[in-house]
């Protein structure tokens, strides 16, 4: 058992500040364990979201010493002895209380994604897909919707005004997954450009850095998505073709 001082942000939409909690911690614990002990022993109303405590549900997102992370996957042993530890709510979303933020922005964006639309089944009643083809989408479907990528993305972190026209990295993953789905027949490229705002992303890879599932969001989803959108809209031959068709 060692004693640590944890500085936890307490407050609501009207404001708040960091409050120090002196607490003991034992080997192998993660930040969420210590937050739970603060709840049980010192402050029963400390608000925090969590579910699985295993890095699988993406509920306990926060900013720990300024870095967007999952509390359940941040080991106490990763801090040096005596190092100050601060836990703050995600900054990109409005505060509800303490460490809990209003992430409804993400649920609104999700509603705007045109649904999966499969091609018909084969004559034998199956869908045939090669393992290598499903693996592209499977990487993106590992996403646990912790929204740390949304939190860190400066397009919305620093510019609230971009939110109405920007889906953010989590949903670029979703668009990329659907675009690369071997069975899907919907074409979402115009929406990705015009409503999801993929052009606003300038590939700083901050989202990839914070992804607890280690999904290569920028390289494997966003860049291919940008390329597809460009192919659709800026291919000079296709552009000429559209012009001619429109005239006739």
């Amino acid at each position: 058992m060692t004693d640590v001082t944890m500085r936890v942000w307490r407050g609501d939409a009207d404001g708040g500040d960091f409050r120090p909690y002196k607490i003991s911690t034992e080997g192998g614990e993660v930040v969420l364990d210590v937050i739970h002990r603060i709840q049980a022993e010192q402050s029963g109303d400390l608000a925090v979201r969590w579910n699985c405590k295993a890095g699988k549900c993406g509920s306990c997102s926060a900013e720990i010493n300024g870095k967007p992370r999952l509390m359940c996957m941040t080991k106490m042993s990763s801090f040096e002895e005596g190092q100050a530890i601060t836990v703050a709510p995600m900054r990109t979303f409005p505060i509800i209380r303490d460490l809990v933020t209003d992430v409804s922005f993400n649920f609104e964006v999700a509603k705007r994604v045109p649904a999966f639309k499969p091609k018909p089944r084969e004559a034998d009643g199956t869908h045939r897909m090669a393992q290598i083809d499903v693996e592209r989408g499977q990487e993106f479907r590992k996403c646990i919707e912790c929204y740390l990528c949304q939190d860190v993305c400066h397009v919305i972190r620093d510019h609230e005004e971009n939110k109405p026209q920007y889906a953010g990295p989590r949903f670029f993953l979703r668009y990329a997954e659907l675009e690369m789905h071997p069975l899907d027949t919907n074409d979402r490229r115009t929406i990705v450009r015009e409503q999801a705002g993929v052009g606003l992303c300038n590939i700083t890879k901050c989202c990839t850095d914070v992804c607890p599932e280690h999904i290569k969001i920028t390289d494997n989803a966003i860049i291919p998505l940008k390329e597809r959108v460009v192919d659709r809209h800026y291919d000079p031959v296709a552009w000429l073709g559209r012009k001619i068709r429109r005239r006739s």
Binding site: K53, G55, A115, Q131, R141, H181
Partner: protein, 606 residues
């Protein structure tokens, strides 16, 4: 009768009127909601967490369905037989039959909705081996199948415009004229009350693992649905049967109980005790002797050739494996931190392990600092799954209160005394869909306005807020810890009469003390208050578990009595039905199993 003041209070509460209300947004709840909504009735789903966070995400290994993609010999009859034998024949045969017959369609349907399962070389859905299943039968996505299931259903719900009320906890069901009429809840964000008037309600609230100290379950799994249904007059059944998953993490302490998928063993991993011995060969029960390998050579050959060899005892049903691990540890042959070793590193290549078990690799690497491609894992049993639950009609999922339906872990019957791995995810979609169908039909056929008694609402609200009015009372976190410790040590994996008696006394004491809880702060997103509300459910469910465990004087499936170590044919013919009297006392009554038709009985004669 409600007073004017009470009627006014009820009128002031935010109210939603629905045809079908689904409580719970895991696999069963979402599948029910998609179905009801698709059939054109006004449907809403309430869930305690955000959409997509339900405990279903934690399911790892896969969903069982006789798709026959890997073994064409498989069919619904074999799946049915495996399920019944896994449940030690206490299952509701009709549910087991429906489940085995309909699971393949439900898996295929998920694919039509966007799920990306792993593939066979010829491009069909791949299936993996799991405990108690004769053939490789589990459709899966690596070791994160639950996430795939929930995301697929979540995205389907969103695409179809199903109304979801997130971070909302239901704490009281309302009835009028003996029928379900609504549900009362509170929003976590504000603590304000909300009333749902509904013609039909589907309970899909999952399990109750938080009653135990070492559990794989999240904070949500507090048995709310069981307690709500019981208080509304519905029967519960089989509450003594609780599954301790054989392989939970044991070290470090903070992750004790975290699930390690059975897929590790399905994909070649084996259990060894502290001396390196493969001890499962020492624990093959008579019931499974004919089909279980008795040498390491045969067990290892089975992975590649199921026809020419018998299956490894590492993949016996979960109750058998959990008890065996428990015995090894008790006999002093455990691993350094009080478990046993689960070794796949010495048996499969690092590449294979990382591809087949990516989230296990990640989980051990990041939380325990163990590289499972190089070193064995340490595992021990963890409270995992409630086989018992709300007693339902097999075909319609109807509970014993009109208008109330239940599906998934919240319902009893399908799994009997022990669930096979992989049968839960298929349960969710098979019976989730059926609950959606039946609730819709009930709602459409229900005549007259749905009435809610203002007095009931006012009383429940006042009761809910009482913890704010007390000062210097009990700490809800302390009471929860004491309950978990009592349940774990006294009504856990091995039980005996004197200890169950002690547990019942302790639950009584905790019930008393819970009436004196005080919470700090206000109603907005207050976990202390939220836990106080959940404790009401956990205490009720714990009592139902303990009283049922006391009544079953035998050992069977997820119920092991030290004082009655063997199965008893008499108890093999009955389910325990739990009822609650108006004064709150909980009773347990034996009722005979429904009789299986001869053509199904014949499947067990071979």
């Amino acid at each position: 009768m409600a007073t004017d003041a009470q009627t006014n209070m009820a009128a002031e509460i935010e109210t939603h009127e629905l045809d079908v209300l689904v409580i719970g947004a895991g696999g069963a709840g979402l599948r029910a909601a998609v179905e009801a909504h698709g059939r054109g009735v006004k449907t809403g789903v309430v869930c305690k967490s955000l959409l997509g966070k339900a405990h279903t995400v934690m399911a790892e290994g896969g969903m069982a369905a006789a798709l026959r993609n890997v073994y064409p010999e498989d069919n619904w009859q074999v799946h049915f037989r495996d399920t019944m034998r896994g449940g030690k024949m206490l299952n509701n045969w009709r549910m087991a039959q429906i489940h085995a017959q309909e699971a393949p369609d439900r898996v295929n349907e998920l694919e039509d909705w966007g799920a990306l399962f792993d593939r066979t070389p010829d491009g069909r859905i791949l299936q993996r081996d799991f405990g108690g299943h004769r053939y490789a039968r589990l459709a899966h996505v690596g070791d994160r199948t639950g996430l795939e299931l929930i995301r697929t259903l979540q995205q389907r719900s969103v695409a179809r415009g199903v109304e979801v009320y997130m971070e909302c906890t239901i704490f009281q069901l309302l009835t009028s004229d003996g029928k379900v009429s609504g549900a009362l809840g509170y929003w976590r964000e504000t603590g304000r009350f909300v009333l749902f008037k509904a013609k039909a309600i589907v309970i899909a609230t999952g399990g109750s693992g938080r009653c135990f100290k070492i559990t794989s379950n999240s904070w949500e799994c507090t048995g709310d649905g069981h307690a709500l249904a019981l208080r509304a007059g519905a029967d519960l059944m089989d509450m003594e049967f609780f599954q301790f998953h054989p392989t939970g993490m044991v070290w470090p302490l903070s992750v004790r109980g975290l699930l390690v998928t059975e897929g590790v063993r399905g994909d070649g991993g084996t259990l060894r005790n502290g001396t390196g011995h493969r001890f499962m060969f020492d624990y093959i029960p008579a019931m499974f002797q004919a089909e279980t390998a008795d040498t390491e050579e045969e067990a290892d050959a089975w992975y590649d050739d199921h026809a020419g060899n018998r299956r490894t005892p590492d993949l016996l049903p979960r109750d058998e494996v959990a008890r065996s691990i428990n015995s090894e540890v008790k006999a002093g042959r455990g691993s350094p931190h009080g478990g046993v070793f689960l070794d796949i590193a010495s048996r499969r290549s690092a590449d294979y392990i990382r591809r087949r078990l990516p989230s296990m690799y990640h989980q051990f690497m990041e939380l325990a600092g163990v590289d499972i491609t190089k070193d064995p894992m340490e595992v021990a049993p963890t409270a995992h799954y409630m086989m018992g639950g709300i007693r339902v009609d097999a075909d319609s999922t109807a509970a014993t209160v009109p208008g109330l339906f239940a599906a998934g872990e919240a319902a009893a019957g399908l799994h009997g005394s022990n669930r096979l791995g992989g049968n839960s995810l298929s349960d969710l979609v098979v019976f989730g869909r059926r609950a959606g169908v039946a609730a819709t039909e009930y709602a459409e056929g229900r005549e007259g306005a749905v009435a809610v008694d203002g007095g009931d609402v006012a009383e429940a609200c006042a009761q809910a807020l009482s913890a704010f009015e007390r000062e210097e009372g009990e700490n809800p976190y302390t009471l929860h810890r004491e309950l978990q410790e009592a349940m774990h040590s006294l009504v856990g994996i091995i039980r005996t009469q004197s200890e169950i008696d002690q547990a019942i006394d302790k639950i009584g004491e905790l019930k008393e003390r819970s009436g004196n809880i005080s919470v700090e702060g206000n109603r907005a997103y207050n976990p202390g208050w939220n836990l106080t509300m959940d404790l009401v459910s956990m205490l009720t469910v714990s009592e139902a578990i303990a009283r049922s465990a006391l009544a079953r004087r035998e050992s069977r499936g997820g119920h092991t009595r030290d004082d009655f170590p063997g199965p008893d044919p008499g108890f093999g013919k009955i389910n325990h039905v739990v009822r609650r009297a108006d004064d709150g006392t909980i009773s347990v009554t034996p009722e005979p199993l429904p009789e299986m038709p001869a053509e199904l009985r014949a499947l067990f004669d071979e």
